[in-house]
Symmetry: C2
Subunit: 816 residues, 2 copies
C-alpha cells in the first residue's frame, strides 16, 4: 500500500485545506464539516448515547490503531466515517481502484486536492491546449500560425500545469503505487521528454523533427472526462490478440499469392504491378483492400482470360472468407469482453458498497445501516439530493422493511441512486392547476383522438410530396429553384401546420413531458431548422445548405415501423460507445497526422510521379480543367489537410494513389506509414462494426424478452410511505424538516421513481442469471479467503473484513 | 388433400412398375417385395399369429376403408406398412411436405417413378444442359459456338425431358396440390414460355431478345440435389424485409444528400458529378460504395476545404453507421431464421417418425415397435445397412430396455441413424493381426514420442526458412529462381522428410484412421502437390503456378494455436452453407450475365466515352502500352467475360467506370442494371457475412460450453449386448443369421457408435433447452387439437392419430 505519513499536518497545509474546502462549501461541498475539524481524528473509543441508541461506529482497525489517542466528538467521528464511505462510493462509481484510496486522514487533503472539479477541468484544459498547439506549430494552419516563442511558451505552460498536477497526484498516491500504474508512468515519461523538447525548441527558436508530439493525446486520454475513451482503448487492446492472429493468417495468404503473382506476371508488361517480389507484395496488399482491383488484373487479363482465376481466387479467399472470419473473431472477442466488463464493474461496485457499509454500521446494530447514517452518507456523497429523495432511496433499498439496511440491501445503492422520484399525485396533467386548463384539455383531447397521429403522418407525406414536386420543377436557375423548394408558399403552409402540431402536443402534455420524448425534440428542432432555413433563404438566396432541412422532417415517418424504432433505439444506446470510438479515431488521426506532417510536409506533389501509374492523378494545371489532376491536394500540409487525407485513407478507395505518390516523392519506406495506418483503421473499424452488431443484437434480444409491462416495471419503482413511518425510521432534525412538506401526517403517500433507460439497466436485466452466478461465485471466493488477512483493510476486495458486518475488525488498539 | 384414384391399376401401369422396380432391385432396392405383390392391399382384417405373437397392424383408417375387401397375406400386409413408413421417414429426412405423400396404393407407382435416382439424375442433367446452353448460344464463347439449329434442338430436348418429368410429378401430386406449390407452378409457367421461345428460335433460325433465358436456373434450383441452395434462397427471401427497410432508410439519406449536393456543387466545374439532380444522385449512390471517393470530392475540395465536411459527414452516416446497422439487422434476422429452421426441421422429423410409428405397431402391442418390424422398416428405408447395424440401432433406441420402442424412443431414429457402429475390440491397433506388426509398433512408438510433433513443426519451420532464403536469392532469371525455389536440393530433402513423416503416421494409425483426420489429408496432399510441382518444374520450367505448393505446407503451423483451429473448424462447419451461397451467387451471376449479354453484347467500348470522366480508362492502343486503357475488356461479350465483369462489379471498386461507359454507349437507362446488380450482391454478401458470423459464434459457444469429454460422449454411443439378448428381442431368420458372426453365444459384446460432427449434432446440443421447450409446446398444441380430425389421416401433422399409440385410428371399416 501507499506510504503513510504519521507526521501532523503543517500549518500551511492546514490553511490550504481549509481554504480550498471553504471555497468548495459555497458550491456543492462534499465535506461540510472538514474545515472545522482541523485534524482528522478517528475511532473515538468513548461510548456515547444518542436518540437512535446506536452510537459508536466500527471503524477500520488500522485507523483506529493509528489514532487511538485522539479525542473527538461523536458527531465528528460519524462525519468522518460518512466522508470516507462517500469516497468509497465515488471510487466504485468511477471504477477507480481502491489501492489509491486515502489510507490515512493525512492523505485526505492530497486526495481532495486531486479529486475536485477544478483539478479535472484544469487537467482537461491543459491537455486540450497542448493538442490544439499542433494547429499553430509549423506546419501550421495559416489562420492559426503563431511564432515559435509564442507556441513554445504556451506549450511549456501547459506542460507545467500537467506536471504540477501529476506531482500532486504522486504525492497522494505515493511512488510505490505509481510504479504499478503503467498509465501514469507513461504519462510522466512522456511529460519529461516533451518538456525537454519544448525547452530545446525555445532555445533554438525552430522546431526540429518532433514526432513525439504525436504522443500528446496521452494527456487528454488520461483526464477524468475521457473514461469512455480509455475503456474503448482497453477494449481494443484486449481484442488485439485475436486480430493479430487473423492478420498473421491473412499475411500468409498475401505473401503466398504475391510470390505466385511474381512468378506468373513479372515478365508481362503490366504497369509494374509485379515487377519485383516487393512490388508484387504491395500490389497484393492493396488488392486486399480492393482499391486497385480491376486495374491490377487488366494487363494480365488482356493476355489471357485464365489469369482472372488467380485474382478471383485471391479476392474470394482473402476478402470474402478471411476478412469475414476476422470480423467474426473480433465480434466474438468483443462480446466476451463486454460481458466481462459488465461483471467486473458490478463486482467492483458491490465491493465499494461493502467498504462503505462497514463504515456506516454502529456497534449496537452491526448488521444494519440506519436512516440517520444513510442520510449522513448522502450528505457527503450527493449533497445536491433533497432529503425526500434520500428518504425514498432508503425506503426503496429497505425491501425487508426492517428499518435498517442489511449488507445485501445496501449493495443495491447504485441502482436506486439512478431513480428520479416524484409523488404519484404529480402525474396529473400539468394544466390541472393552471389558468390554461381549457386549452390544455382541448389539446389533450385532440392528441388522444385516434386519427391525430394519422393526420400528422398524412401531413408529413404531403410535405414530402410537395417537396418532390418542387424538385421535379427545379429546372433552370439554381437560386430560384432553391427558393421554390425551401421558401415557397407550401413550405410556409406546412411549417405553420407543423408548428401548430408542436403547439398542440406541448399544450397537451406540458413542456417538460414534451421535451422528454426524443421524437418530439426531433420534430420541433427540425421544424425550427426548416423555418430558419426558409427565412435565411429569403434573406440570402445563395445559402444553399438550408435545403437540407426540409427533407429531414420526413424522417419522422420512420417512427411508424418497429424495425426503424429498433434501429434508432440502438443508435441512442450506442451513442456513448460511438462517441468514445470517434474520440479514439480522432486520437489516432492526430497521432498519424503529426507523424505524417513531420515526414511529408512541404513535399510538392504537383506533376509528380512522372514514371509511375499514378501520374495522371497528379497532373497540375493552373485553371484546374483536367479531369483527375486534383490529387496533389491530398497532402500533409497542415493538421486539417492531414485529417482529410487520413480520412481518405480510412475510406480506403484509391488510397494506393496517395501511397504511390509519396513512395515516389519521398522514398519507398513511406509505404510503411500508409500500410500501418490502414491496418490501424481496419482494426478500429472492425471493432466499431462488432460493437454495432453487439449493441443491436443486445437491444433486439432485450426487446424480445421484455414486454412493455416488464419494461415499465424495470424502469419504475413505487414507494408507499407516510410521515409516521419516516418518524419511526428515525427521520429527525433537518431531514424531518425537509420531509414535512411532502408527507402530510396521517396520510400514506405513493412516490414513483423512474430511471433512464441506459445500457447498464438493460444489461442488468439481460444478464440477470449471469449476475446471480457471478455474485454467488464471488461469495464463494470470499469464503475461501482465510481470515488471517483481516488486518489488510486496504485490500481492494477486502472480503473477510466485510463478511460478518465488521465485527472482526476489532483490533487490539480498539478499546471496548 | 390430393386426388385419390379408386380405379385398379391398368395392366400397362403394372408392368411398368414391376419393371422399374425390378431394375431397382439389382441396385439398392427400397421396395423388394413390391414386384411380387401386383396390387397394394391394405389392412388385412383377419388375425393371424406369428412367432412374436403380434400380427395385425393398425393401419390408416382411410386406407383400410378403401381396401377392406382385398385379401393379402400377413407378411404382405406388413411389408406394405414398412414400405409406407420408410416413405414417411424419407420425407422427414428430405424435409418434404407430407401433403405430397402417396395417399393411396394406386399413387405409389407414380410416387416411386418420381422418387428414384434415375429421375433425379435426369432432372439434374437436363437442367444443367439447359444452363450450359448459354455458352453455345449467340453471343457464345468462341470455343463452344454452335449453330442455331443445334442448340435449339438441344434446348427443345432438355425442355422436353423437364416437361415430361413435371408431368409425371403432376400426375402423382395432383393439380389441387400443385396450385398451392408456388415453386412448381413457376417452373411450369417458365417451361411453357421457354418451349414457345425455343420453337420460335428454331423457326426463325435466329435468336431474338431472350431475357427469359435468365430464368433457366429455376430448373436447376428445383432439382433434388439443390436442396441447400433452395434453403439458402429461402433464407435470403426471409431476410429481405429487414434489408429492404434498411435500404429505404439508406436511400432516404442518399436522396437528401444528393439534393443538397446538387445545390452546393452544381455550378462548380466538377467533372459533372453534380450537374443535374440525377447526376448528383448517381454520384452519391456510387459514393455509398466509396468507389469514386476522393475523385468526387476533389474539385469542390480544391475550391474550399470546408466542402470536405459534406462528404465526410455523408460517408460517416451512410457507410459507417447505416451500412453497419444493416449488417446488424440482417445478422439478427439470420440468427432468428436459423433457429426457426432448426425448430421446423426437428418438428417435421418428429412428425415423420410419428407417422411411421403408427404403421409399425401391432394390435397386440399398440404402444411399441418390435425389433422384427423395425428391421422390416430398415429393409425398405436403408437396405444397404447390415443386420448388425439395424440391431444395434434398435438397442440404442430402446433406452428403456423394454424390448419394444415406445413412441418417444422411436422419435430418436434420425439421430441414431447417423451412428456408424464398430465392435469395441476393433479399436485395437490395425497392425495387431498383420505381418507388419513390428513396423507398425515402432511407428506408433515414434508418434507417441512427446517430441515427435515438435520435430515435425521444426521441420516445417525449417522448410519455411529455406524457402524464405530461396526467395531472397531469387534475383535475375525467373526460371532459374523458380527452380531454385521449388526444385532445389532442399526442396527434395524436405519433401522426402515429409513423406517419411506421412509414412510413419500411416503405419502408426492405419490408413483408415490416418485419412479420417482432415489435417493428415491436408499434409499428405500438400506434400504430394509439392512433389508433383517439383517434378513438373523440372520437366517444364515455365510452369510457374507450381511455386504455390511449397508454401502451403506452412499452413500446418496454424494447427498449433487454438484460435486457428477454431477458424478452420468454422470453415469446415460452414462449408455446406458456403457452397450453397456460392451456388446462389453463380445463379445470380447467370441471371445477370444473360440480361447483360442481351442488353450490352456487341457494343464496342474501345475509345468510348470521349466526353466523360472515364475516357482515360477506355483509350485503346494496339500495342497496349497505355496505363489505364484496358477497361474495354470488361464487357458482356460472352458468358465467361460477363462472369468476370460481374465479379468486378461485385468487388465494387471502380464499378462506376463500367457503369458510366455503358451509360454513355448504350444509354442512361443502363445504370439501372448496374445499380440493381450492386444491390443484389450487397444483399447476398451481407447474408454471407451474417452466416459466417453466426457460424463462428456458434462454434465458439459450443466449444466453450463443451469439454473434450462432453464431446466424446456426444459423438459416441455405447451398446452392450449379447446373442441371448438378441434372441430375446426377437432376432430370427435372416437377421439372426447376420448377427451370428458378431455375437458369439454367452459373451457380452460392446459396440461403439460414432457420429460425424455435423452442424446438426452441434445444434442439438446447443439448443438443448430450446428443443425441450419446442417439443413441449408442440405436445401442448397437439393436445389442443380436437379429436374430431381423426379421419384426416393425411393431415401433415396428424396429431390425434398418433397420440395414443394408434388405437383411435380404428375406423368403421376396420373389422375387429
Amino acid at each position: 500500500m501507499s506510504k503513510r505519513k504519521r507526521v501532523v499536518l503543517s500549518l500551511k497545509d492546514k490553511i490550504n485545506i481549509i481554504e480550498s474546502l471553504k471555497k468548495g462549501e459555497t458550491a456543492l461541498d462534499p465535506f461540510p464539516n472538514y474545515g472545522t475539524q482541523k485534524v482528522y481524528p478517528v475511532a473515538d473509543t468513548r461510548t456515547g448515547t444518542d436518540g437512535a441508541g446506536d452510537s459508536t461506529a466500527l471503524d477500520m482497525g488500522s485507523r483506529s490503531s493509528l489514532h487511538s489517542g485522539l479525542h473527538m466528538s461523536e458527531d465528528e467521528h460519524w462525519e468522518m466515517n460518512y466522508h470516507e464511505a462517500a469516497i468509497y462510493l465515488e471510487e466504485g462509481l468511477n471504477n477507480e481502484k481502491f489501492d489509491s484510496h486515502p489510507s490515512s486522514p493525512e492523505e485526505l487533503p492530497a486526495y481532495l486536492r486531486v479529486h475536485n472539479p477544478w483539478y479535472h477541468g484544469l487537467d482537461l484544459l491543459a491537455s486540450l491546449v497542448l493538442i490544439l498547439l499542433a494547429f499553430t506549430e509549423d506546419p501550421a494552419v495559416p489562420a492559426f500560425m503563431l511564432p515559435v516563442w509564442a507556441h513554445g511558451t504556451i506549450e511549456i505552460l501547459a506542460l507545467a500545469v500537467i506536471g504540477i498536477e501529476l506531482h500532486l497526484k504522486l504525492k497522494w498516491i505515493g511512488w510505490s503505487t505509481i510504479l504499478k500504474h503503467k498509465r501514469t508512468m507513461m504519462k510522466g515519461i512522456t511529460l519529461l521528454i516533451m518538456l525537454l523538447e519544448a525547452v530545446v525548441v525555445l532555445c533554438r527558436q525552430s522546431s526540429h523533427f518532433r514526432v513525439t508530439r504525436a504522443l500528446r493525446p496521452i494527456f487528454l486520454v488520461d483526464t477524468r472526462h475521457c473514461g469512455g475513451v480509455r475503456r474503448f482503448i482497453r477494449q481494443i487492446l484486449q481484442s488485439l490478440p485475436p486480430i493479430l492472429d487473423m492478420l498473421g493468417l491473412l499475411m500468409f495468404f498475401v505473401a503466398t499469392y504475391s510470390l505466385l503473382g511474381y512468378y506468373l506476371f513479372s515478365d508481362h508488361i503490366d504497369n509494374g504491378h509485379f515487377k519485383t517480389i516487393s512490388d508484387s507484395f504491395v500490389s497484393m496488399f492493396v488488392l486486399l483492400t480492393t482499391a486497385n482491383f480491376p486495374d491490377v488484373m487488366m494487363p494480365s487479363y488482356a493476355k489471357s482470360k485464365w489469369y482472372a482465376v488467380f485474382f478471383i481466387l485471391y479476392i474470394i479467399t482473402v476478402l470474402y472468407v478471411l476478412m469475414n472470419l476476422m470480423l467474426a473473431v473480433v465480434y466474438e472477442a468483443f462480446t466476451r469482453i463486454e460481458r466481462e466488463k459488465c461483471r467486473a464493474l458490478l463486482l467492483h461496485r458491490r465491493c465499494a458498497t461493502r467498504h462503505a457499509f462497514r463504515l456506516l454500521v454502529s456497534r449496537r446494530a452491526p448488521d444494519v445501516v440506519r436512516l440517520r447514517h444513510f442520510s449522513g452518507l448522502m450528505r457527503h456523497y450527493a449533497p445536491h439530493i433533497s432529503g425526500l429523495d434520500v428518504y425514498l432511496m432508503f425506503k426503496q433499498l429497505n425491501q425487508s422493511g426492517s428499518g435498517g439496511l442489511s449488507r445485501s440491501e445496501f449493495a443495491g445503492l447504485y441502482e436506486v441512486f439512478a431513480l428520479r422520484w416524484g409523488a404519484q399525485a404529480s402525474r396529473a396533467p400539468w394544466y390541472s392547476s393552471s389558468p390554461l386548463e381549457p386549452i390544455g384539455r382541448m389539446a389533450a383531447t385532440a392528441v388522444r383522438w385516434p386519427y391525430f397521429e394519422y393526420l400528422i403522418y398524412a401531413l408529413i407525406v404531403g410535405n414530402g410530396l410537395a417537396m418532390l414536386i418542387r424538385v421535379c420543377q427545379a429546372a433552370g436557375d439554381l437560386q430560384s429553384s432553391a427558393k421554390l423548394l425551401c421558401a415557397s408558399w407550401d413550405t410556409w403552409l406546412f411549417l405553420t401546420l407543423f408548428l401548430i402540431e408542436a403547439g398542440i402536443r406541448m399544450m397537451a402534455s406540458g413542456l417538460r413531458n414534451y421535451v422528454e420524448s426524443g421524437w418530439n425534440v426531433f420534430d420541433l428542432s427540425v421544424t425550427l431548422l426548416a423555418l430558419m432555413g426558409a427565412v435565411m433563404l429569403t434573406i440570402a438566396p445563395t445559402l444553399f445548405i438550408v435545403v437540407m432541412f426540409r427533407p429531414l422532417r420526413l424522417m419522422r415517418l420512420y417512427k411508424l415501423k418497429k424495425r426503424y424504432r429498433d434501429v434508432f433505439g440502438t443508435l441512442v444506446l450506442l451513442s456513448p460507445l460511438m462517441s468514445s470510438a470517434g474520440c479514439v479515431m480522432l486520437v489516432m488521426y492526430y497521432f498519424f497526422a503529426i507523424i505524417g506532417m513531420e515526414l511529408f510536409a512541404g513535399k510538392d506533389l504537383k506533376n509528380c510521379c512522372q514514371d509511375t501509374t499514378v501520374k495522371d492523378f497528379y497532373i497540375y494545371s493552373e485553371n484546374s480543367s483536367t479531369a483527375l489532376g486534383y490529387y496533389y491536394l491530398n497532402n500533409f500540409e497542415n493538421l486539417i489537410t492531414s485529417g482529410v487525407t487520413l480520412f481518405e485513407l480510412t475510406v480506403v478507395n484509391n488510397w494506393f494513389i496517395l501511397m504511390n505518390a509519396y513512395a515516389s516523392v519521398v522514398g519507398q519506406f513511406s509505404r510503411i506509414y500508409f500500410m500501418v495506418f490502414y491496418l490501424f483503421t481496419m482494426v478500429v473499424l472492425t471493432i466499431v462494426v462488432a460493437s454495432v452488431l453487439e449493441a443491436f443484437r443486445f437491444r433486439i434480444q432485450y426487446k424480445r424478452s421484455t414486454t412493455k409491462r416488464d419494461e415499465e416495471k424495470l424502469l419504475h419503482e413505487e414507494v408507499h410511505t407516510s410521515w409516521e413511518e419516516a418518524q419511526r425510521l428515525g427521520a429527525t432534525g433537518e431531514l424531518a424538516e425537509e420531509l414535512r412538506p411532502y408527507l402530510p401526517p396521517g396520510v400514506s403517500v405513493t412516490f414513483i421513481g423512474s430511471r433512464p433507460r441506459t445500457k447498464e439497466v438493460l444489461q442488468r436485466r439481460m444478464y440477470q442469471s449471469d449476475i446471480h452466478r457471478w455474485l454467488a461465485e464471488e461469495d464463494d471466493n470470499e469464503d475461501r479467503v482465510p481470515s488471517t488477512t483481516v488486518t489488510s483493510s486496504e485490500d481492494p476486495l477486502a472480503p473477510p473484513l466485510i463478511r460478518d458486518g465488521g465485527q472482526r475488525q476489532l483490533q487490539p488498539g480498539y478499546q471496548l
